[in-house]
Amino acid sequence: MNKLNSTMTINRTGAKTAPLETQKSVEGAETYSPLTEGDATVLDAIRMTYADTEDAFGSVPPPASMKQGVSTIAKKIQGKDMTVLIDKLSDRICFEASGTRLYDALISKCQLAESLPPGMDLAKVQHLRDEEHEHYLMLKEVIESLGGDPTALTPAANANATATMGLCKVVTDPRTTVLQALDAMLIAELTDNDGWFLLIDICAALGLTDIAKKFDRALKQEDEHLEHIRSWISQGNLSEAGGDDLGKNPQKAKGKTSARTAGSTNKKAGNAATKKSAAKKTSTQAVKKSAPKKATAKKSKTSPASKSRQSTRKSSKTSATGSKKKSSSGAKKKATAGSKTKKKSGR
């Protein structure tokens, strides 16, 4: 495919393609319908007859070795309800497997494409793919350590797989462009990113700090994935919309700046300040954490990962697990990583 994006030819889907015939269809609809009164809310009449069903979408398999009490980690969380954790771990591992395959398909598409968005190269895509695969393997290990079954499909995993069914269709269809495939990848990465956030929060709440640390590393990588995908989409579309010069260097071309690029630049400029503030916040939380019950309860309501999400959504995803020292250093590290990324992306 020569162009990164679609061409403008004979799309026949719109009403204006055949205005005279459309007018006849409209007149027909006005003459012959509706036959009855009501609106779309009436559809609930059918739905409500199924609403009280006791048959679920599915269930979560109990971790085998929890019953036997052989696992050290399992012992650590004995007495706590593992249902959500197991469900979400399965969700993540299934998503990482599908994500790896999505990247495989994207690589295949890129290899056959005549051009790629500015800044995008196969080595980078391969790197992202390999990290998805690493996450899959790491999750397998974690689930096994908890006595869970990494091969099971749980309800959360199934719901997500159902929700994202179309992604594979878009990426594997030879007729779609690289940019259309990247739009699908963006949906996957956004879902993935939030999935890791949630998992970190759940692990932190259950006191599984070592696991949360592992997940935190994965989240940082996922964050980079998201940044790459966003950048390729932005640069690719700009290059198609305004010509190659704009695509290669959107900030310089014609003095124009894209909303995302501008926002992103400002965000980066403000990152140092934000991260200092985030580090302060995390330190305060860590101090509060040592206080008795009340503070712990408060913490569980607004966990570090979600707090980080609320305050500095993309720029400073601080460690979810560390103590005062770890949190501070984590934030500092993140700040350094952020400035490195800034140089890399050239924004």
């Binding site: 030819t9 004979i10 799309n11 026949r12 889907t13 009403a15 393609t17 055949a18 015939e21 459309t22 006849k24 269809s25 409209v26 027909g28 609809a29 006005e30 003459t31 012959y32 319908s33 509706p34 036959l35 009855t36 009164e37 009501g38 609106d39 779309a40 009436v42 559809l43 009449a45 059918i46 739905r47 007859t49 199924y50 269709k169 269809d173 030879p174 007729r175």
Partner: protein, 399 residues
């Protein structure tokens, strides 16, 4: 002058070959190709599906024909694959359903207008108004559950309005059967028409039965269950109009002729050159198969195939909008019902059908619920959202 079936030799059966790459071609575009290109693909898939279905039935009853049937059937299998695989993956099951109903409306309308037998023309018009209603119900489902415009698929060729309401289409089985044509006196076009529409409806039934469970919303699941039941009735109706005393070989030969006739119609109307080349190839294959079966028929039954088929094919099926004909039929015949094999006014409908559907609809009608107050407009019903909100406010106040 139309195609000379006896002069053209087509592609000999042994040269009707495929490879996997050849079979699986780039699909058509949901956005850019003409709606009738998709209509033709769905129709021809249905006819190939019927060819295979008939071939298996025939093989189960005729030991001597099993080898020739298997040989032709193998090619039909690949023909169906090549045709059906032209549908694009971005055409969802519900969107494909809308194409199916467009086939049922526009192809049946063409057939009904060309049908030389008045009674059978009435049968086609009767079925047409019911499929016309199905389009309206599915369009509402597509609009109201997915927020999408059915006219993306229909491209303004076909009205989206109620026909004979689906809720009253449910009849007791004996009232679906109709009188068959007489194989000795019926015109060849009558036989081709009957086979064409029967095949299309049978495929529609099978398709709805396959995809119905793929939907999550109970509204969609019920609607597919309801309309699939009508497609089963339609298959019953259309297969009953074919003379059951035709011999197996006679039926086989008519199946081949019907496929030739339909591919010929596709060639005549196709706007996409790439797809037209496929129709031309399939036409040549079917002519080859016609002659293969013709030899079997003439050898085995000691009859001349020209008894069954004229030298020149009838005028092709018209793949175009039949809006005005459909509206005239709607105005004149929406209140027709059946009593056995007869078409009767609403008040004379067979009691057995009324009792049958009263029971079936006793817990509500999905087709009525999905279209409560529905009127299509370009850009979906949401274009009129402000008006709907006003209505809601008014109704709340009045309470």
């Amino acid at each position: 002058m139309t195609l000379d079936l006896f002069k053209e030799k087509g592609t000999p059966l042994e040269k009707q070959l495929f490879t996997w790459r050849d079979l699986v071609k780039t699909p058509v575009s949901k956005l850019d190709d003409d709606a009738f290109t998709k209509v033709r693909i769905v129709l021809m898939n249905g006819l190939e599906s019927e060819a295979i279905r008939f071939s298996h039935s025939c093989a189960r009853m005729n030991k001597d024909l099993q080898i020739p049937l298997a040989k032709v059937r193998r090619v039909e299998q690949f023909q169906q694959t090549m045709v059906n695989w032209l549908l694009p993956p971005d055409l969802s099951p519900l969107e494909t359903t809308i194409v199916f109903e467009q086939v049922a409306i526009e192809v049946t309308a063409s057939v009904a207008q060309n049908e030389p037998d008045d009674y059978l023309a009435q049968v086609f018009r009767f079925g047409l108004l019911e499929d016309f209603d199905h389009m309206y119900r599915y369009a509402a489902l597509y609009d109201r559950v997915e927020g999408k415009d059915p006219n993306w698929i229909l491209q303004s060729y076909t009205d989206i309005v109620p026909g004979r309401p689906t809720i009253v289409e449910h009849r007791s089985p004996e009232n679906d059967l109709k009188e068959p044509y007489d194989k000795r006196t019926a015109k060849p076009l009558t036989k081709l028409n009957a086979l064409t529409i029967m095949a299309a409806e049978n495929q529609t039934h099978d398709y709805y039965m396959t995809i119905g469970p793929m939907f999550a919303d109970p509204v969609a699941r019920q609607l597919y269950a309801e309309i699939a039941a009508i497609e089963e009735q339609h298959t019953t109706q259309y297969e009953s109009i074919i003379d059951p005393t035709e011999t197996w070989l006679e039926k086989w030969l008519m199946h081949e002729a019907m496929e030739v006739y339909n591919y010929y119609s596709c060639v005549e109307y196709e706007s996409n050159p790439r797809i037209k080349a496929i129709w031309e190839r399939m036409l040549d294959y079917e002519i080859g198969q016609f002659h293969f079966v013709r030899n079997l028929f003439e050898t085995s039954e000691k009859r001349d195939a020209s008894e069954l088929m004229p030298r020149h094919l009838p005028k092709p099926i018209e793949f175009k909008s039949h809006r005005e004909f459909v509206r005239q039929t709607l105005e004149a015949e929406v209140n027709l019902r059946t009593d056995g094999v007869e078409f009767v006014p609403l008040e004379d409908e067979a009691e057995s059908s009324i009792a049958y559907r009263d029971q079936l609809n006793s817990e509500g009608s999905p087709s009525e619920i999905v279209t409560a107050g529905y009127r299509w407009q370009p850009g979906t019903e949401l274009v009129a959202a402000a008006r709907a909100a006003e209505r809601l406010t008014t109704s709340t106040r009045s309470k």
